[in-house]
Amino acid sequence: MDLIYSLMETLLPFSWVQFSFMKNALLAIIMIAPLFGLVGTMIVNNNMSFFSDALGHSALTGIAIGVMLGIDNYIISMMAFAAIFALGISMITQSGISSSDTIIGVFSSSGVALGIVILSMNGGFARYSNYLVGDILSITRNEIKVLAIVLLIVIVIWILSFNKLMLSSLNTDLALSKGINVRYYKNIFVLLIALIVTVSIKWVGMLIINSLLVLPAASARNIANNMRAYHIYSVLISLFSGVSGLILSYYIGTAAGATIVLISSVIFFITLFINLIHK
């Protein structure tokens, strides 16, 4: 880690490099952003942006459960709850009882409400408002290490299951006819989303995490013609808005997460415009 820090100090011509919280934040963004760009494409392919949004909201209940059980590190209770939540939604959706956006809506709002009720019981909800907006500048050295390990696991699973997921998202019956266990891969996918959402929510914030997942992919989709371009654009847009948003927020003194999202939105509208004049 020290090596990386000193490398950053020599390479980057900015005055903020002297602050370790900025270095940590930049490192975290360089790790999270590309992964969000990659996984986001599949969320958009599957029309699952509402689903990942609900997962973000479920984190609140996860934290509340952690508080009740007296766990210091809320990540564990958040992950466990988000995993159950994700599998629950996908099970009910697949059974076809009710339309999926209704189910997700119900899950999402009960997740938030339950979380708020439990956390406000002792009258101290303000303590947790960090999780709403997120604070990338609060990330510590050790948390970056945890983040790196989790992200590595996600990338490996992602690489091994991407093609099967892609065919499943194109058409379930077609994937089944090729011998793909669609249900298994869809479950892996929702668990992966649950994992990356919960592991990064403290720094990104519940209100905007979904924009970071969806916007880069949605922008890339506007201008890409094949899978390779789609993913390259998505990763680059995610990385660009992440890094530039962080730096900009330092100079104008705004919340980093929201600044990043704003930049992604601007990029989205630019790509939308490019797409419109091309057609």
Binding site: W158, I159, N163, K164, N226, R228
Partner: protein, 245 residues
Amino acid sequence: MDKCRCSVKIENLGVKRGNQIILKNVTLTANHAEIMALIGRNGAGKTTLLKSIIGSMEHTGNVKFFNSRGEKIDNPKIGYVPQRLSFDRNTPITVLDMFCTNSARLPIWLGHGKSRTQKAKESLKKVGAEQLINKPIGKLSGGELQRVLLSFALTPMPDILLLDEPVSAVDRKGISAFYNLVMSLRSEYHMPIILVSHDLGHVRKYATAYALIDHTIIETNKVINMLNSKNVQRTFGINISDGEI
């Protein structure tokens, strides 16, 4: 030369949804070079039967596959051409991308590799669609897409080919082109074909046998006898003397 003995045998298949019986006691065999048409009114269970063969529908009974020597195949390869590929047309996925989702282990956004590209090209060539290889599938016409899907279904060579109303989104000229292609492929390769169609004209012209379905198999016969069947006439409300077909 020995006769090819590949076939698919459906034995006593049943499907229930809740208390509703969708299919029961379905027993049906399709042999090599046979194009077995499943016909019947809407909601009779044709597509359900197809989905049971694919494995996307829970069912009782057995579906068994046999290879050209008449031996049972445990992990059959199924070629399936859906009625209308329902997908988001804006998804930036090319024909080659789609082929590689099935043939490559590493993610398709890392690249396709020369040999896989070559293979996909050869498969597409058989259906006269090699020029479409780099086109996004959302930009293909109905006929083009069905040809690409047929080629995808045949790669790798399946033990059975299932066609679910394969031409419902294809224009007139494309329809005969598609079926002629299926006809020319069927004798070349060792596999039975099962076709779902609501168009008796197509069935009469292109299928070799038919099975009339109404929650179970009402009758099966050679296709030349189809229009003389009382059951078929009743189901489709046709009178041969009217010359409706």
